[in-house]
């Protein structure tokens, strides 16, 4: 690997990590604003114009607060848990394309520049899911190490929840994978761009509507957000797994959760909303202007998805634990299997046609 390639990768890493950490700060502001609007309030507006400096104030608060480590905790695990949360949430981005990558990438002197930190990983989706399920260790370890009944209950609920919802999550994606015949995320994207009937694009949400619903529900459960935030459940568990955490350790859990939301939004957009696919942008257009536009389109879609996730939060109440399990095992998994079988049969029947 040439030096310039390493330099490009480093630039991409700094860019993406910096961008997303900054985005998280503003997502918290957005979340607070949407929460306020949903309750007919105004939301933070004192810190800078329209409250735009609020994330800085929040960040300073997190950093400057006293970092309490209770005396009875399992110290190594207690410190490890928030680190796992943030590391797992960050490295998941490695294979997520945020613009044209692979064969569609724009070129400099004939060398393609991929808008993806680790391009051409054949098992991109598997990697993202593997990292995503590792993130559950943060919650379980945090809950266990806190040596607190509430935290422990939160951790337990979370482990059962993630294990259950991983199955429909994986199964729902398989339909799109079979259609695109690749586990690589940008192949799935370009498949959606290349196919389609006239003006209607072959976005995952149109060709696999059931899978989209199952994926969406499972993704909500994976990110631990309402209506599936049983692990935190302020009203029942005083904050759940992060009851005993303060200052920046709590902030790291927070950061991890929001990074997870970004990852899930990216996955949803890439798998089911065509990624950077827009009506006027073709996959064969590899100029730099098109590349920048494609990056803009995918970030626009991701922003809409993030807003939708926050919107859902203020719409649905939290599930009870048994309802959560019923939904996963009695509804989502059978439906995901059905969707998989139907997709397989259809692909086999129309193999020669399409």
């Amino acid at each position: 690997m040439a030096t310039w390639q390493i330099a490009v990768i480093l630039v991409k890493i700094f860019l993406i990590v910096g961008l997303f950490q900054g985005a998280v700060a503003y997502m918290i502001l957005l979340e607070r604003k949407i929460a306020a609007w949903a309750q007919d309030r105004i939301g933070p507006n004192r810190c800078g114009p329209l409250g735009l400096l609020q994330p800085l104030a929040d960040g300073a608060k997190m950093l400057l607060k006293e970092d309490v480590i209770p005396g009875y905790v399992n110290k190594p695990l207690y410190i490890l848990a928030p680190a796992i949360a943030i590391v797992m949430a960050t490295i998941g981005f490695a294979v997520v394309p945020f613009g044209p990558a692979g064969l569609d990438a724009p070129t400099v002197n004939g060398n393609p520049i991929h808008f993806q930190i680790a391009p051409n990983v054949d098992i991109g989706i598997l990697y993202v899911f593997a990292i995503g399920s590792l993130a559950v260790y943060a919650v379980i370890l945090g809950g266990y190490a806190s040596n607190n009944k509430y935290s422990f209950l939160g951790g337990l609920r979370n482990s059962a929840q993630i294990i259950s919802y991983e199955i429909p999550l994986g199964l729902s994606v398989l339909g799109m994978v079979m259609l695109a015949r690749s586990l690589e995320l940008n192949d799935v994207m370009s498949w959606q761009d290349r196919n389609g009937l006239g003006p209607i694009p072959a976005w995952g949400v149109f060709v696999q509507p059931l899978a989209f619903l199952i994926f969406l529900v499972s993704a909500f459960a994976e990110t631990n957000r309402l209506p599936f935030d049983l692990a935190e459940a302020e009203q029942e568990l005083v904050g759940g797994f992060h009851t005993e955490y303060s200052a920046m350790k709590f902030g790291m859990f927070f950061l991890g959760e929001y990074l997870h939301v970004i990852t899930v939004s990216f996955l949803t957009v890439i798998l089911f909303f065509g990624g950077w696919d827009a009506p006027f942008l073709g996959v064969e257009d590899t100029s730099w202007i098109a590349a920048v536009l494609k990056v803009g389109v995918i970030f626009f879609k991701v922003t809409l998805m993030v807003i939708f996730i926050m919107w859902i939060r203020w719409t649905l109440p939290r599930f009870r634990y048994d309802q959560l399990m019923n939904l996963a095992w009695k509804a989502l998994i059978p439906l995901a299997l059905l969707n998989l079988v139907v997709t397989m049969v259809l692909i086999q029947l129309f193999r020669g046609v399409g």
Binding site: K33, I34, A36, W37, A38, Q39, D40, R41, I42, L213, W311, I312, W314, T315, L316
Partner: protein, 209 residues
């Protein structure tokens, strides 16, 4: 009522259609409701927030805020030191020291020499206002009382009378308003204005029993 009572109506849960069993229409309905609220407050300006320090909230006419001691036409305190308010007060926050009225006050036998209300102890129930036979004590719409010490919020007679001067135009007395020539302080926390800026002597504090 027995289980076989003919008046007993059995209510069955409604049969859900397949679409309703997915809960999707209901979720979409819920999204529409929250979406209306989000858009209404974000764009439509329907948020109910009052930007407090810049924008003062005006309470309703029957709001129970800081007390005031009403004055009569001659600018004298209306109170006749009958102690009914102090007796009615469930929080025991009113402390009155009555004295024989001056010779030239022929309409009453007694007047309050000292009239102290502990605004921190008060629960703003309005019983004093109801108990008063001469409508001398009333609760105003002032709600933003602040102080740097507990003593500062123990209001004496002068302070309570100044509250009256301040609020008498906005909130006229329920009976018999005095002429408008009486002096009007501008703010309840005006350091130059009347009221217990200095620490109240211990003897003047209301009893805590």
């Amino acid at each position: 009522m027995k289980p076989d009572d003919p008046n007993l109506k059995r209510v069955e849960p409604p049969k859900l259609t397949l679409l309703e069993k997915t809960y999707l229409p209901q979720i979409l309905g819920g999204l529409a409701v929250t979406g209306r609220h989000i858009l209404g407050s974000a764009i439509g300006g329907k948020a109910v927030t009052v930007q407090y320090p810049e924008e003062q909230h005006v309470p309703t006419a029957n709001y129970r805020g800081v007390h005031r001691l009403n004055k009569d036409e001659q600018g004298r305190v209306k109170c006749v030191a009958c102690m009914l308010c102090a007796t009615a007060c469930p929080a025991h926050c009113i402390d009155i020291v009555g004295a024989t009225a001056p010779e030239d006050w022929p309409d009453r036998e007694k007047y309050p020499e000292s009239f102290v209300i502990d605004e921190l102890r008060c629960i703003y129930c309005g019983m004093c206002e109801e108990a008063c036979p001469v409508d001398a004590i009333e609760l105003t719409g002032l709600y933003d009382i602040t102080g740097l010490s507990r003593e500062e919020l123990i209001y004496d007679k002068a302070k309570l009378l100044s509250v009256f001067d301040m609020t008498k135009d906005a909130e006229p007395m329920k009976t018999g308003n005095p002429p408008a020539s009486l002096p009007v302080p501008t703010s309840p926390l005006d350091p130059e204005g009347p009221g217990p800026r200095t620490t109240v002597p211990a003897a003047q504090l209301p009893s805590r029993s």
